[in-house]
Symmetry: C2
Subunit: 331 residues, 2 copies
């Protein structure tokens, strides 16, 4: 005889959906009920079938997070809060890495039977959002958006923090400002670059092409970019980095060149990751609530899965300057 | 009419399993065949059903990785290679975090329909391996083992690296050796502590209880441990840390106390994570092939799932000392 969740429900004196929820350890079920359901399941030798559950509901309760570089130090601080939020909502987080062929990524996501996808690395020119929309896979933009397809989004508003930063940079007498921007085909890099340039322009300062460097948001970009900028005759007095991980690379390049930070050169990041607070780094950076933003992206996606017809929501998290030790007076 | 994978197979002129593999983007299928299968699927409007696949095979092709602290800087360097290896083997990686109640973890893993589990945080006294064995869920020990239940394992042999380290510490004239060990209920901490003590004992040096500190393998442990040890009258000349993340905490504590590394105190790690190479850290550490070890754990688990009756395999990865800038002569 095959024992089903209905048998367990009967023995425990609860409804069948409650059995599923209790065995998934859902926070919606009381501890007392969970205990009763577990005892009933154990007495009957019931083994819950995830496959059966997916068949009956049409849902797998699995959500993909699409990333590129899993070893980038930014992602743990995104994965952890998304995982926590999804766990509380009874969903599992499945990591998916992006390959060059976005058409294939869409097929793989579909074949994997995901209820929805969190897009953390969208480029503005990606066709993936179009493919996902055409195939009816719910998704949310996290930290990056694309204008090709509208979807719920959780991103930073870099304006507040970067205006405070520009004020401070100008106040410290900097005129030769360098920057290591993110990739041009990401909304995040575009928005940060525009906000920084606009805010510096108020003080009559611009970032010349010669003092600009551009690359992926990673350590290698910061390292190579700073080695390039800081060995110029007209070395910038401050290097504004696309994010904290880029700034880690820049700080290490400055050390390699025996330049003191901030006496010889100032370095600024964006994100305020935990290591920015390290006494060995003391990174001045632009902060926002990354943890809340990651959790919000997860809950936006669950809301979308449960109510596909709801109006789109675009959440922008405010930013602010956090001063530590790497921004000083112009040399 | 419902289009099935058999219809796609017929149109593409391949077998049904090849259709599944092609649509999962398996490396075992040629690019040409994948193209033909995709075209056939597209022509017929076929949407692969992961649920149907699980029903027909009894497998979900999903593997859980059980972790505690997702934000620990050690894990990205474990998750990334495991993910790559599993992707190549057509499996998905699902993150699972451990709670205090291991009984519930086992139930949750079962309810989630995983084909197997990678255990990365096992304590020697955990009942989880027993529960998994009793319920027939295949698992592999990664980096930590437990003697309660035998299972395939991939771990470090710390002996080689720690003997080299002890030789070097003794050769540099250190006699007051301090240590920040990992938790006593983990095989990793036990093995490293025993290997270090044995190797130092050859030179007549022991680590006193007063110069020992113990805690989870994280930044906070290294920071608190070093603040504690380095403010003693009989400050140790070298602090050997349970792993690199602990050593990051210790280096930052030394900076806070205005102690120069290695002139005033030496600090050593274990793992050789990428940041150990940072010019700002230059951490002397014990290295092993963490990437290969993580991939191996993943492939051991897949082998176990596919052949439950095979003999157990225990793989121990050799270690060696990597000298950088944080180990110097006794002060």
């Amino acid at each position: 005889m095959v024992v089903t969740s209905h048998d367990v429900a009967r023995l425990a004196g609860v409804s069948q959906p409650t059995v599923s929820r209790a065995l998934r350890d859902s926070p919606k079920v009381s501890e007392e009920t969970k205990r009763r359901v577990r005892e009933a399941a154990s007495a009957l030798g019931y083994v819950p079938s995830e496959t059966g559950r997916a068949l009956s509901s049409g849902r797998t309760r699995r959500i993909g997070l699409l990333l590129t570089d899993l070893e980038n130090q930014f992602y743990p601080h995104v994965i952890a809060p998304m995982h926590r939020e999804l766990e509380a909502l009874d969903y599992q987080l499945v990591l998916q890495t992006e390959t060059d062929d976005t058409g294939r990524v869409a097929e793989r996501l579909l074949a994997n039977g995901l209820d929805g996808v969190l897009l953390a690395t969208t480029t503005v020119d990606s066709v993936l959002p179009v493919r996902l929309r055409d195939r009816g896979v719910p998704f949310v933009y996290f930290n990056r958006t694309s204008e090709s397809v509208e979807a719920d989004s959780a991103e930073v508003d870099p304006g507040g923090g970067l205006r405070q930063l520009a004020d401070r940079i100008l106040g410290l007498g900097h005129r030769r400002v360098g920057a290591i921007f993110g990739p041009r085909n990401t909304s995040t890099a575009e928005q940060r670059e525009t906000a920084l340039r606009d805010a510096l322009a108020v003080g009559g300062v611009s970032i010349s092409a010669a003092l600009s460097y551009r690359g992926p948001f990673d350590f290698a970009t910061g390292h190579a970019g700073a080695l390039h900028l800081l060995q110029r005759e007209d070395r910038p007095g401050v290097v504004v980095c696309g994010n904290d991980v880029v700034a880690y690379g820049a700080l290490n390049a400055a050390r390699e060149l025996d330049l003191r930070v901030p006496q010889d050169v100032s370095v600024v990041g964006f994100d305020d990751l935990p290591a920015a607070r390290w006494p060995l780094l003391q990174l001045t950076t632009v902060a926002f609530d990354l943890d809340a933003m990651a959790r919000r992206a997860a809950s936006l996606l669950v809301d979308r899965i449960e109510d596909p017809a709801a109006p789109f929501r675009h959440e922008r998290f405010p930013s602010r300057l956090v001063e530590r030790g790497t921004l000083g007076a112009a040399p």
